[in-house]
């Protein structure tokens, strides 16, 4: 089962390696990770996506909570939430395919953020399935370069129901 976990941490040197060490020391994989400062510059928020059965994820969240520098840990599995991820794709379509690619980007509400002699760079924001669908569709047209930010998540207001 895939889990999105948010960890509020002290914004200090070495904290990231304490967190990643918890995963690597137990042979757990991090699928995606994004880190950024919060409104309080002394605090950072990490969003980690990982997979494992209930026992593994229970251990992960407990171990994260145990870290002295971790202030708060939230596993979104049972919390209604919004997830977003952004990708930038540099596409190099054949001359004839250019309009097709631009149309596809439009359907996915992508924005063209750069353009070269033979390439477009498209920015797509969305949840995982949307991004995955776009990648699958665009693949045949020739992806030159591809970067993704990793997931960020935030709970929906008012309806934090337990599934």
């Amino acid at each position: 089962m895939r889990h999105t976990i948010s960890v509020l941490v002290e914004n200090k040197f070495g904290v990231l390696s304490r967190i990643s060490g918890l995963f690597s020391g137990r042979g757990f994989n991090i699928e995606s990770l994004s880190v950024g400062e919060t409104i309080d510059p002394a605090v950072s928020l990490m969003t980690i996506v990982t997979s494992g059965d209930d026992r593994i994820v229970e251990q992960i969240t407990k171990q994260l909570n145990k870290l002295i520098d971790a202030i708060k840990v939230i596993d979104f599995i049972n919390i209604d939430h919004v997830e977003r991820e952004m990708i930038l794709v540099k596409i190099a379509p054949k001359k004839n395919d250019k309009t097709e690619v631009l149309k596809l980007a439009e359907i996915f509400r992508g924005r063209i953020v750069d353009s070269g002699a033979s390439t477009f760079t498209v920015q797509i924001t969305g949840n995982e399935s949307k991004i995955q669908a776009f990648i699958e569709l665009i693949k045949p047209y020739g992806i030159k370069e591809f970067v993704r930010t990793g997931k960020v998540a935030i709970a929906r207001e008012g309806i934090k129901k337990t599934k």
């Binding site: 002290e10 060490g21 026992r55 229970e58 145990k66 708060k72």
Partner: protein
Amino acid sequence: MKMSGAEILIKSLKKEGVRHIFGYPGGVVLNIFDVLYDEKDVELILTRHEQGAVHAADGYARASGKVGVAIVTSGPGATNTVTGIATASMDSIPLVVFSGQVPTLLIGNDAFQEADIVGITRPCTKHNYLVKDIKDLAGTVKEAFHVASTGRPGPVLIDLPKDVTAGTTEFKWPGDVSIRSYNPTYHGNKWMIKQAAQMITKAKKPVIMAGGGVILSGASKELKELAEITKTPVTMTLMGLGSFPGTHKLSMGMLGMHGTYYANNAVQNSDLLIGIGVRFDDRVTGKTSAFAPYAKIIQIDIDPTSIRKNVRVDLPVVGDVKNVLIDIIKAMKEQKSQWGAVRNAWIKQIDKWKKEKPLSYKFDKNIIKPEFVVEKIYEVSKGKAIICTEVGQNQMWAAQFYKYDNPRKWLSSGGLGTMGYGFPAAIGAQIACPDKLVFDIAGDGSIQMNIQELATAVINKLPVKVAILNNGFLGMVRQWQELFFKERYSHTRLGVVPDFVKVAEAYGAVGLRAVKPDEVEPVLKEALKIKDKPVFMDFVVDWKEKVYPMVPAGAAIDEMIFEEEEKKPEKKLKAVK
């Protein structure tokens, strides 16, 4: 008034009540050692290896209940502490280790004697710090002692760059420590405690399994009370020995791989297992899927990560063991059950098992059996000694054949299983408890892993008694080779074992030897007479002796092998109705 970083450090240690430090000097800690030169209230005990310093601080902490302190230099000095820190981490022992570091500006430059010790010790400390600004020094020391000694205790390392200890600033001691992200749970949830009390009341065949957490929490009195009022038999993990009196009629001794027949059977047939300050280590559970198959499991521990890590748990209670036990006892007293009648059949069954297969060995009048030496140590010390051990057969025999009636009398590397732990730990224990009798029960293999500490014991006039069970082999590995590898003794025969009597004498200690069983007691009595220097007792023992009972790796803990029926695991006993 401005003070140097080194002065601030020592003043902070004094504020924390530190009297003894174990350490070893070096280039980047020169400022600290210079302050210690004139210091009257804090004594530095110079060991002969940094690993020895950390084990000694660990033994000091286990024997006294205080935080152990060590100071070493950068680079190799720091990396030499890693085994000691990992040993303390696995057994939840509070330590604060100070390592020197190259000046802040040189960090990361591969400077002379530089090692990223904060990075290296990250996974084996409870927390660690690099002090980059002298203004943070006093506060970091205070925080480190707080983190090391509260919650589930553990080792903390502070890395001190040379310019931080050499610089100057005002001394400011923080009034209080508050870390927003560190708030251990000390009191158990009320509803959980009520549930636990009900489960104990309902149980017909309950077993208490007590671990190191009981000792760390100082809850032996409460444990005894709970066991006595509810007439519940108690078994202990290796780390829990001494948390409950070993001579008590409800005691079943140790459980697990080399646990007693009756403790393992009781756990396997119980209908309620109350784990108190235990983490269900694999040496205790054997095959986890077959562990305590008929029991509901209650687990009481201050560390939520210990719960459900290895075995299923029906009722977790997170909290300090002592507080939780006080609350459970209170709840039990309100219940006014007739415990005697409910538990009689169960206690009788356990007594039957105790008679059926007690811990035993075959005495021989021509050759010394190692178990016999441990029994004699128990006799001559009247059960009152602090016993340290190395790791291997010596450790298991010391766990089985010495009865520990009080906590903090049994010092052994349980989790990490560190050979070379016992002797320096005994030195630390003797410094913490100068009036107590301190033994290290060792093997001829493991004693050689920190034998240099003889010099530390001699110069400090420490009367540590080292009983070497000398079988010429790395005995525990040899035992496995004999049982599971067709007696192919690959690299376990030590061949050249030094003459331990002469080694002791070369260091200015006393060396004694026994080769016949009737020489054992006179050697021990002779050793007890020596009050101002360490003694090595070389007991030449039967090399074929093995530790029994034994649960083979991967088997359930009631599938034990016994001495008379080697290699034939017992058929699993049916649950007792």
